[in-house]
């Protein structure tokens, strides 16, 4: 894929963008190559993370947010991540069912990703897929993923504004105790607010937020009640997101957050090359014979690993594979 794939994506070519996203997911070298060209054209989109337990209504919420943002003429990208089955390696990606009414809007691009074993609710390819949507000219990119208790922390590293979605009666009080979730959310959304327990859940969240010492110059998370299915509370979310955006920009905090994201991305890129190298190492007879010796207890795992890695070879090969890729 040469420069003209970049040009296609910059002009919004859906097929070219979708093909690149697939290449990223499948770790094809030409996709990595293409991302090198594309990267300088990214950084304009505003990223909103939406996370929460399965069944709280994230996809329905995203659907109504799309409608609301479209009224304001924003172009939208959606990345919907669902878990890969650890037993079968397959996945049911059903989030876009709830967004069906936007399926023919040219300015809405919805992409489903399977987590493919990536811990924490996201997929390894998520950031890169966001870059493609960004380069296509999307103004707002929403990333939807199931929270796993620790997953919310990951999504908040990827997003500018993070929404944590709760729903009454789902044992969320326990969820909230889990590390990171209170700090991760910029906005708490209590969906299905017509259900019993919604008001008391709101109070609980607000009380928990009060316990955390708040710096009065920093953003204080807001709790909003919604009924996504009836489109209630959605305008309030949109206004709060835009308010949060203004705060991030005026306080300079957006630079800090995006700096964090860049660090994350650099680590991932380094790990990408290391993974390629590991794949090469475990592909040959040398590895097989060492593994056989390990199975026969002739050597311990760590000495075996050192033998496979053999330090001088790793730095030579690593330099070669970085050049090649």
């Amino acid at each position: 894929m040469e420069k003209n794939t970049t040009d296609k994506i910059l002009t919004g070519d859906v097929r070219a963008a979708a093909r690149l996203m697939r290449g990223i997911e499948d770790n094809l070298p030409q996709a990595v190559e293409e991302l090198r060209h594309l990267y300088e054209h990214t950084g304009k989109a505003y990223i909103i993370g939406i996370t929460g337990a399965p069944g709280v209504g994230k996809s329905t919420l995203v659907d109504t947010l799309i409608t609301s943002f479209r009224k304001r003429k924003f172009k939208i990208g959606v990345v919907a991540v669902d878990p890969t089955s650890p037993f079968t390696g397959g996945a049911l990606l059903g989030d876009r069912i709830r967004m069906g009414r936007h399926a023919t809007d040219k300015d809405v691009f919805i992409r489903s990703l399977a987590s493919r074993g990536w811990a924490g609710g996201l997929a390894r390819a998520t950031l890169s897929v966001i870059h493609v949507l960004d380069a296509m000219g999307k103004d707002i990119i929403m990333v939807e993923a199931v929270g796993s208790g620790q997953g919310e922390v990951d999504i908040s590293q990827v997003a500018d504004t993070t929404l944590v979605v709760l729903s009454p009666g789902m044992g969320d009080e326990i969820q909230m105790m889990k590390a990171g979730i209170l700090e991760a959310a910029d906005i708490f959304v209590i969906n299905k607010a017509d259900k019993e327990g919604a008001e008391s859940l709101k109070v609980q969240v607000e009380q928990m937020l009060d316990i955390i010492p708040q710096n009065k110059d920093k953003w204080k998370p807001i709790v909003i009640l919604t009924q996504a299915v009836n489109e209630k509370g959605i305008e309030e979310i949109v206004k709060t997101v835009l308010k949060h955006k203004r705060y991030l920009v005026s306080s300079g905090e957006i630079k800090h957050r995006r700096g964090e994201r860049a660090r994350l991305e650099l680590v991932e890129a380094i790990e990408h090359f290391l993974r390629l190298h590991v794949n090469e190492l475990i592909d040959d007879d040398n590895f097989q014979s060492i593994a056989a010796a390990l199975a026969q207890r002739k050597i311990d795992p760590y000495s075996a690993a050192e033998q496979v890695l053999n330090r001088t070879i790793i730095s030579k090969k690593l330099r070669k594979s970085v050049k090649k890729n």
Binding site: V14, R15, M21, T88, G89, A91, L92, I110, A114, D283
Partner: protein, 134 residues
């Protein structure tokens, strides 16, 4: 040990079918076979299905119809896929389809039609044999 690429499959129900029990069984079967399945729900137009297929970069589109409009709707999907540069995506079909319509569907570009009662195993095996990541 290069990792095998995963197959991405879109299952769509064009038209006015009232229920989707069958296609959901197929979806679960595909997931259990290690495929990534995007299901777009009931009451889809060919345009909605094709748009999703392009955005999701799937290798295979599976269409299900119970209400008899399969000849028109399936040909629309095949036609629009070609128009969007996705002629390489394979299309298969299932549902309530009279056996005598199968040759017509095949001529339109539907690679295989699976009639009700086909064991999921058989559909999965066909996909594994005939569909490769694009």
């Amino acid at each position: 040990m290069a990792k095998e690429r995963k197959l991405r499959i879109l299952l769509g129900k064009p038209g006015l079918d009232g229920h989707d029990r069958g296609v959901k069984v197929v979806a679960r079967g595909f997931r259990d076979a290690g495929f990534e399945v995007i299901y777009t729900g009931l009451h889809q137009t060919p345009e909605q299905i094709v748009n999703a297929a392009v955005q999701e970069d799937v290798d295979l589109v599976g269409l299900s119809s119970l209400s008899g409009a399969h000849l028109h709707l399936f040909s629309e999907v095949v036609k629009q896929l070609k128009e969007r540069g996705c002629g390489d995506m394979k299309v298969i079909a299932g549902g309530i389809i009279p056996a005598e319509d199968i040759p017509t569907l095949k001529k339109m570009g539907v690679k295989k039609v699976f009639l009700p009662g086909t064991p999921i195993r058989e559909i999965v095996d066909w996909v594994k044999k005939n569909v490769k990541p694009l």
